[in-house]
């Protein structure tokens, strides 16, 4: 997860382009040993516990280690040991960048220093905290026109980016300059003191791939079940967001999702956040106090 943040930072600073960053993240992901597998190898967790943690990760905005400790499956010491082993086995993003020749050592060192300052990472604390992603999101996106309520939008996008790897198995990158995606618009609104409308657009190929991954079903075409799977993905994301907001005192009620008919596009005032995955672009739309269509 940390690599994703640093990668996004390098993209924002135009030190890497989108293709280079995707290449780096793909290589890093391919080399990354999963914490759950490491714990099974070490006979600290069994497969049933790992599966339970994965399920809970899809219901709560917490990472694998946090849930394992919360459930009493791992002690903090065991988690720290596993993280050390994981870190030792994975390809480091910095190493991958140097190996690829995308940046020199001096360029990388300067970027890393700036990144640490931007995200308030302390010495030795390279495992990014959730707050850091919000910092990166703020550096990339501009919701200032939404006024003080824009903070909610930054929080939402940060949460959305954290959820994509868990639900869809992708390392998302905010790719601001990407052309608009075309396809079916799926929307859902949350109502409360503030109203937040959200929506997703992706082309049929990507929709089918993401629907397969989310549902675990053998989908072969964009039919009602595939569309419903993506709608349910949006619903689960918004469910986690409402729980998170509720814990902070903001109650939001979800409305049913809508699968819009072909050709329907979001309102002009909606913020568009293009999110690049290894399989294509997801256009995410969000706006306050208006429905998306």
């Amino acid at each position: 997860m940390h690599d994703q943040y640093f990668g996004q930072f390098l993209l924002n600073k135009e030190l890497l382009n989108l293709e280079q960053l995707r290449d780096i993240l793909n290589r890093e992901r391919a080399s990354r040993p999963h914490l759950g597998l490491l714990a099974i190898d070490a006979s600290i967790l069994n497969s049933s516990q790992v599966e339970q943690i994965h399920r809970l990760q899809q219901a709560f905005d917490k990472n694998f280690g946090e849930i394992a400790v919360d459930k009493g499956f791992l002690t903090l010491r065991q988690l720290e040991d596993l993280l050390v082993v994981q870190q030792g086995r994975r390809l480091n993003i910095s190493q991958t960048i140097i190996d690829s020749g995308y940046l020199t050592l001096a360029e990388l060192e300067a970027a890393w220093q700036e990144y640490k300052n931007t995200t308030s990472l302390k010495k030795g604390k390279t495992d990014a905290l959730y707050g850091n992603l919000c910092g990166i999101v703020r550096a990339v996106l501009d919701f200032s026109s939404a006024g003080s309520e824009g903070d909610i939008l930054y929080e939402y996008i940060a949460l959305f980016l954290r959820i994509i790897p868990r639900f869809l198995g992708e390392e998302p990158i905010i790719a601001l300059n990407h052309t608009r995606a075309s396809g079916t618009l799926i929307t859902q609104t949350m109502r409360g003191v503030v109203n937040i409308s959200t929506g997703l657009v992706m082309n049929d190929d990507l929709l089918l791939k993401m629907a397969r991954r989310y549902s675990g079903e053998n989908l072969t075409r964009v039919d009602e079940l595939a569309l419903d799977s993506i709608a349910e993905f949006l619903n689960s994301t918004n469910g986690i967001f409402t729980v998170s907001m509720s814990e902070g005192g903001l109650e939001l009620d979800l409305e049913p999702q809508c699968i819009q008919t072909a050709g329907v596009t979001p309102v002009e005032m909606a913020f568009r956040v293009p999110i690049e995955t290894s399989c294509g672009i997801i256009d995410f739309y969000i706006c306050l106090d208006e429905t998306l269509v």
């Binding site: 419903d228 469910g239 986690i240 049913p256």
Partner: protein, 125 residues
Amino acid sequence: MCWLKQLDVLICDDSMLIRKKLKDLLEKLGCRVWEAQNGEAGLEVYQQVNPQAVFMDIVMPKVGGLDALKKIKIYDPSAKVIMLSSTGTATKLAEAIKNGAVDFIQKPYEDEQIRHALKKISVKG
């Protein structure tokens, strides 16, 4: 799982994916499964079938799950309704329990949670 055999269970959820996955699981457990896509249809099916258990989503079109729960409990005060929702806030949980839900499971559920909820109902009779 013989204690679940021939149990009539109603799934009330607007998501085709959730209905499909839950139905597959319940049928494997030996239940007879009935489906509804919203709270209004759920009440109608309930009145026809009188199932021993209901899995009820909260966010649905037409009539939502909490309103459907109230209506089902008026029709049948002994109804066993298990709320199944992605929006598991403390407020929603309290409202569901206050209105007579016997359990509240946050999506995505684990199969074991479903089995456990049905077992509780089955034991209570």
